[in-house]
């Protein structure tokens, strides 16, 4: 599911823009953006092993916790701030999202949809916390601290007066148009601060 999502993001991001990827992992998305869109890429990542991979790809990266890694940046420092598959793994997603909205002009958010029908079926019929392709972890060794659905995120944006500029939902066989909160495994959004 990851690659189609990266393709969507690469389609959105403008040529030669500046991009900060929060929780950039091994730098795969940033290197795609550097190659296809010639962006000025910076990553922040907490895993040391992932840092080595980023450096090997020629990415500028900071080995830091993103929960305090943004306080060095002035307002609107980046054209895009990316939070892909990061959101659910951090202690305080609300605070990080707020900081991201401060330092970035546009924010790209992507996460696995916990309300995906297969996950629902597992809870309903098996009575167990779901394990799916995009949430492939058992309860005892999951990096995920928060679980959210597409509707949860849309609700949050409404309450916080965050504008959803674009959204794409991806399921098993490509983009999902109908009932994304039920049929999409991943939701990707471009959001901005409402002035």
């Amino acid at each position: 599911m990851t690659y189609p999502a990266y393709k969507v993001i690469a389609g959105w991001v403008e040529e030669k823009s500046s991009v900060l990827d929060l929780g950039c992992g091994d730098g795969e998305l940033l290197s795609i953006l550097m190659e296809r869109k010639n962006v000025k890429a910076i990553g922040i990542e907490i895993s040391e092993q992932a840092i080595y991979k980023c450096v090997a790809k020629g990415i500028s990266v900071f080995h830091e916790n993103i929960e305090n890694g943004l306080n060095g940046y002035a307002d609107k420092s980046f054209d895009y701030v990316i939070l892909y598959n990061t959101f659910q793994e951090i202690k305080n997603p609300a605070a990080v999202l707020e900081e991201a909205l401060r330092v970035g002009k546009k924010i790209v958010v992507g996460f696995p949809n916990f309300a995906y029908y297969k996950a629902r079926l597992q809870i309903f019929f098996r009575g167990r916390v779901p394990v799916t392709q995009d949430i492939p972890f058992q309860w005892y060794d999951t990096p995920n601290l928060h679980f959210l659905s597409i509707l949860n995120f849309e609700d949050y944006c409404r309450i916080k007066k965050i504008k959803i500029e674009k959204s794409v939902f991806i399921g098993k066989s490509g983009p999902v148009k109908l009932l994304p909160n039920l049929f999409a495994e991943i939701g990707i959004f471009v959001i901005t601060k409402q002035e």
Binding site: I51, I59, G72, Y73
Partner: protein
């Protein structure tokens, strides 16, 4: 000799007439001892300046004739190594104030015909860099591909960025800081007091008469404690003792005591006590931004930075490197930061070869590429 060594090397000396110091004093003449490895390319764009730490010297790699031990960063410099001498031209010089060939307090004062002693002027990290700039100019290098060093070497690398911003394409400050904390100054001062309270120090005029062996070796012992970590010491020595039963005497019996004694004893054979005072003072005086904010002194700098720190380093803790990182972000300076996991403490910058090699190799490739395309 191993296959990927730079082989036999020789120290060289560069002399120039005069250096005006931060203290406004004029030091003349000045000698800088240096070594080079690899070949300078035609465009003179592949030069790397290696900066040594407190007690290092110009002999960073390869072997001197009739010596068994290679240079102090031989693990990182040589064919195929992090600083690949088949690609890069590597320069390392002994700092101003040192005692390994560069002008320092043990050099002859032309006014008196005797060693300077305490008549040697107080020098700063910026003065060390000023002297190196003369050497780099002499070598015909307009822009260094990178300036790199750990600890005090990192301070010099940072100082290069600020003193000569257009003459460096990148810098790699490792396990360092933009200014000493009170704790770091405190350790320096205890070391200096150990030297100065030794009667054999004779207010610095010991040359030809005596040597403050006890004072300088105690200073070195303290230094070594701060270069290691609690866990690296526990691993290296434990509570092992050369005696089987507890010894109710003050002779060193624990292995850690023997190690420190050995380190102290061997240090006094190779290092000048006054140089130790002058250089540690330069470290304490170092304050890269001074009255300004750090991001202000970095503003507009086009060099790329690779900033490295080590998890167990409590002498130059990671938070000091993170201050550099934060200033880079605010100033819009292209930087990469990695806190390498290590249990070695401050010594890690000399020991974590594999991790450093990976990071530095790729970083240098990227910096070189950019220069080719410009």
């Amino acid at each position: 000799m191993e296959k990927n060594s730079v082989g036999l090397v020789e120290i060289k000396y560069f002399n120039f007439d005069e250096l005006v110091l931060d203290s406004k004093e004029h030091l003349k003449p000045v000698t800088i001892a240096y070594e080079t490895y690899g070949q300078l390319n035609e465009k003179k764009s592949n030069a790397i300046l290696i900066e040594h730490a407190l007690t290092g010297d110009a002999h960073a790699a390869g072997y001197h004739k009739d010596e068994e031990k290679p240079g102090w960063w031989d693990t990182m410099i040589g064919p195929g190594k992090a600083f690949d001498t088949e690609k890069y031209f590597v320069v390392c010089s002994n700092v101003l104030g040192g005692c390994k060939g560069s002008t320092g307090p043990s050099s002859i004062n032309p006014k008196t015909g005797k060693p300077y002693g305490l008549d040697f002027p107080i020098i700063t990290v910026a003065d060390m860099v000023r002297a190196q700039k003369h050497l780099i100019d002499y070598l015909g290098i307009k822009k260094l591909l990178t300036v790199v060093g750990g600890s005090m070497g990192g301070m010099q690398a940072l100082q290069w960025l600020v003193s000569n911003p257009t003459n460096v394409a990148s810098a790699i400050p490792i396990a360092t800081t933009v200014k000493h904390s009170p704790q770091q100054i405190a350790f320096s001062e205890v070391g200096r007091q150990a030297v100065m309270s030794d009667p054999d120090w004779r207010d610095g005029n010991y040359y030809g008469a005596s040597f403050p062996v006890r004072g300088l070796s105690v200073a070195r012992m303290i230094g070594h404690i701060t270069y290691m970590s609690d866990s690296s010491m526990a691993e290296k020595f434990g509570r092992r003792s050369k005696e089987k039963k507890p010894v109710f005497k003050f002779e060193p019996s624990f292995e850690v005591e023997g190690y420190l004694k050995y380190r102290g004893d061997s240090f006094v054979k190779r290092f000048d006590a006054n140089s130790y005072l002058y250089i540690t003072k330069a470290l304490d005086l170092f304050d890269l931004a001074g009255e300004k904010k750090l991001h202000q002194v970095f503003a507009g700098n086009r060099a790329k930075l690779l900033i490295l720190s080590f998890k167990s380093d409590w002498l130059y803790p990671s938070y000091q490197s993170k201050e550099i990182v934060k200033a880079c972000k605010l100033a819009g300076v292209d930087a990469t930061y990695c806190e390498i996991f290590s249990t070695y403490g401050h010594d890690a910058f000399l020991l974590e070869v594999e991790e450093e090699t990976h990071l530095i190799k790729h970083f240098l490739e990227r910096v070189s590429d950019r220069r080719e395309s410009l």
